[in-house]
Amino acid sequence: MSDQTTTTGRAVRRGSGRVYAALQVVLDRTEPAVEWLIRLCGWSAILFVFGIFFFVFREALPMLSGKLNLTEFFTSDQWRPTAEPQPHYGILVQLLGTLAVTGLSMLIAVPLGLGAAVYISEFSGGRVRETLKILIELLAAIPSVVWGFIGYMVLGPIIIRCTGAPVGVNLLNGSIILALMSVPIIVSVGEDALKAVPDSFREAALSLGASRWEIVYRVLFPAAKNGLLAAVLLGVGRAIGETMAVLMATGHSLKMPHSLLDPIRTLTATIAAELGEAVQGEAHYRVLFVIGLVLFVVTFIVNLTADLVVKGIRNERA
């Protein structure tokens, strides 16, 4: 926006005022239409979110109204959705799998992501900083199926060789892949949060004789804590919702996670793997939508928390 005004401003100074005036007339006339278009874009986002929620809820509703035993749903480890005559819909294993792989990936991604954010924002300069930022953006642009492929074909055999595990697609593999996928978002949001800390804070700390590490640890982290927390929560959201990569890298196995080297299964992967083969409108199909609702609620809570935290920062600054 500011770029545009300066260039048009320069154009006026150069004496091409007539062209500018004509352009202004056209802009004035089209402005209401453009305004409406933009408004429509904004509203469509709301429409889509509600539309999706409505659709998922509608498909899940027949199971929710009594047919699904919710106690079994949340506490049973038996997921046999196509068993005859009595199918079992227990998602405990998948729920724990999702929690385990998300938690573990955050253990890797949070120190890595925040460390990178601190380095980019505070310790690097000029070319290094720009190169790093571009590379991290590139990391964010890698499609999830490619990540899954790397986990499956590259990381899996390495894990077998290094640990002697019977199978290379497992909790550890999935966590590493998910961590690498959530690092970019943690870095970019984290870096923004650190940059938002006014330079006067750094100068004040320097004048007190603080070392660079002390500045980061004692001044920047407390000052930017909400922004950093938001960065972490957005990373968590990314990890919970990820589907294709975890489907390929975790082994997709219905087993309680006991160790790092156990294959596991997540909620998202269950939906992705089974929805295609489920008979439309039948119980199995609908239970998958109930799982979708569970995921919807979980990601909603995570995102809402992140949002409130970010809002906290804004209020603090104001």
């Binding site: 196509t82 019977p166 199978v167 997709h252 083969e277 199995h284």
Partner: protein, 263 residues
């Protein structure tokens, strides 16, 4: 034509070859799974549904209710499910009973040493069971052929999402065992001979063995196409072509077993 992921390559190859000889015919092929194809047939969104499992009674009923015509089933070839192991695994054959003890609920075989394989050669004694996802036609068929209708899978297998993925994972995992169509063999794996009972003669998954009625390869399933009512016009011509020499040649080319009359 819509449906089975097992048959998607086949359907695409048919469409391509058929279009080459009948340029006026346009065939749209999509996958998604046997269940998706059948649902699509019920809703009238496709003319032909491909399926690697038989239609369930409920689905047959719905075709009749919604389309007003009985669903027709056409066998277009056979698929032999091979049992794959890593190329370094010295095992040569296995019996259906042993497979049932590996894959079935409460199965007693969990270690390679129980099958007489020296675990040192695999780096690990644990048998890594590779299977398919719930709802897969291949998964259902393998269960029926190996364990019978009443015994379910033991949970905790690695459930892959496609026929290729099963074989690829076995190729990368020395202590794994998995099942998939015999056309999916690749470098790094080998297929096992299957015997009905322990100590019986093992039968290798080949075209000839798959079609034998007596003493043939025991895990062979039909590949099916479904239409609502007698196929008419263009769909009928296509089906006729598929069952004829050129269509069956495509079946064989892709590693499936063609119908016996064209052997």
């Amino acid at each position: 034509m819509e449906g089975s992921d097992t048959m998607i390559n086949l359907a695409e190859a048919w469409a391509e070859k058929y279009h080459a000889s009948h340029p006026e015919a346009i065939i749209q092929v999509s996958g998604g799974g046997s269940g998706v194809g059948i649902a699509s047939l019920i809703d009238g969104n496709c003319d032909i549904a491909s399926a690697s499992r038989k239609m369930k009674d409920k689905e047959l009923e719905r075709v009749f209710l919604k389309r007003g015509q009985e669903a027709r089933e056409i066998i277009v070839g056979y698929d032999a499910l091979a049992v794959y192991i890593h190329k370094d695994n010295p095992l040569d054959s296995i019996s259906l009973e042993e497979l049932a003890e590996i894959y079935g609920v409460g199965g007693k075989i969990t270690r390679w040493s129980q099958l007489g394989v020296d675990p040192k050669r695999l780096g690990n004694d644990t048998i890594v069971r590779v299977s398919r996802q719930e709802g897969s036609g291949t998964r259902d068929y393998f269960r029926e052929a190996v364990m019978g209708k009443t015994r379910d899978y033991e949970l905790g297998s690695i459930d892959q999402n496609g026929s290729v993925d099963v074989v690829a994972l076995v190729a990368h995992t020395p202590s794994a065992i998995g099942y998939s169509g015999m056309g999916y063999a690749m470098a790094g794996v080998k297929t096992l001979r299957i015997s009905k009972h322990k100590g019986g003669p093992g039968v290798a998954p080949t075209f000839e063995n798959a079609l034998k009625r007596e003493g043939g390869y025991p895990i062979t399933r039909p590949l099916l196409l479904y239409t609502a009512g007698q196929p008419k016009d263009k769909a009928g011509e296509l089906l006729h072509w598929i069952l004829d020499v050129p269509g069956q040649a495509v079946v064989k080319e892709l590693g499936y077993v063609p119908l016996p009359t064209h052997e």
